[in-house]
């Protein structure tokens, strides 16, 4: 009986975004963008990439001049994964903007960094980041993330 309930829940979650969650990946480094895109696609995710915070916000409908409809914003992405160190707007600042948005604050945000700095990590987690991941990312990291994403939707 319990097994049944579990798979029903999973099916319901699958239905929510089909089999392919849509992920927005933000990173100023071209190689890292390509890598994270491949990793996510290998985990059956639909991927959109952005090269900085501003472009990411524009895409999400939080840009200055953009008055996207409620529907647009809600349906766009299921997860945002962003690098911490970016010129202009850092990943932390992007995280804050997302959490300040009444429409996007429920979208899980993952921060990546090549530097393992506890104060940085805590700062991000306190601001509401779902997870902090060390670069370079491996396939196993993304598989784990995908599982977490499925679980947290319940």
């Amino acid at each position: 009986m319990e097994g049944d309930g579990g798979s029903k829940l999973e099916n319901a979650m699958m239905e929510e975004y089909g089999d392919e969650p849509h992920v927005l990946a933000v990173d100023d480094n071209l190689i890292d963008r390509k890598l994270v895109e491949r990793l996510l696609k290998n985990s059956s995710c639909k991927v959109t990439t952005a090269e900085n915070g501003l472009r990411a916000l524009e895409y999400l409908g939080l840009g200055d001049e953009n008055k996207a409809t409620l529907e647009d914003r809600v349906s766009k992405v299921n997860l945002i994964i962003t690098d911490y160190c970016m010129p202009g707007m850092t990943g932390y600042e992007l995280l804050k903007k997302i959490k300040e948005s009444s429409i996007l604050k429920e979208v899980p945000v993952v921060i990546m960094s090549s530097e393992n700095i506890p104060t940085r990590i805590n700062k991000c987690l306190e601001e509401g980041a779902q997870k902090f991941m060390l670069k370079p990312l491996k396939q196993s990291d993304v598989v784990e993330l995908r599982c977490n994403l499925m679980k947290c939707r319940s």
Binding site: N29, L30, I31, K34, L35, R38, N42, C85, P87, Q139
Partner: protein, 203 residues
């Protein structure tokens, strides 16, 4: 058929050497594992991007260090980029020099920075040459996509640097079952003492 096996063995030897010398690290294996028959050129594509991006950064760095008034923040930003990309493809020695380079920036040590630039150029050109050779050898296998894929998975098997010639010979002889074998071999390679039990590979 013999010359094919020879070539493949050379490739595995060559790759293993790059790992032994610390020119490449496990992250390069991660890249190879992301390549498959539906994305057969992934590694070459990423590495090509790395070459282009690195050359751009090295030029910027040379220019920045020639300025009358050196902008250390800008230099640090460029080195940070190079450190990130070299780390992402597994170019370990390039990454290490970048770390030292950033320290010199922090200390505003112009001579240290210049020295680091020379070192990073050297390490970069080394890894570039090695990777280009690797791709050329693979390229010789050429049109047969599934061969390329198999070569990649053997290169993966060298990530334990426990390269065993008799193991690799078995791979090429049992091509159809190769993928199934890889997982078995991986477990074997991980436990050094089990490596001798080649009987497990006999299908």
């Amino acid at each position: 058929m013999d010359s094919v096996i020879q070539l493949q063995r050379q490739l595995v030897d060559y790759t293993a050497q790059l790992f032994n010398e610390g020119i490449l690290d496990d992250q390069f294996n991660q890249l190879q594992q992301l390549q498959d028959e539906s994305n057969p050129d992934f590694v070459v594509e990423v590495v090509t991007l790395f070459f282009e991006d690195s050359e751009r950064l090295l030029n910027e760095l040379a220019k920045a260090l020639e300025q009358q008034s050196v902008d250390y923040r800008k230099i640090d930003a460029h080195v940070h980029q190079l450190k990130g990309s070299s780390s992402s493809i597994g170019a370990q020695r390039v990454q290490k020099v970048c770390i030292a380079f950033r320290n010199c920036c922090e200390d505003r040590n112009i001579e240290g920075c210049q020295k680091c630039l020379q070192q990073v150029k050297h390490e970069y050109s080394l890894v570039k040459t090695k990777l280009e050779t690797l791709f050329k050898v693979r390229g010789k296998k050429g049109k047969n996509k599934s061969n390329l894929f198999r070569m990649n998975t053997v290169a993966q098997a060298t990530d334990f640097c426990l390269y065993d010639r008799s193991l690799s010979r078995r791979f090429w002889q049992q091509e159809g079952q190769f993928l199934g074998q890889y997982n078995k071999v991986k477990t074997i390679a991980e436990d050094h003492s089990q490596r001798k039990q080649n009987g497990i590979l006999d299908m």
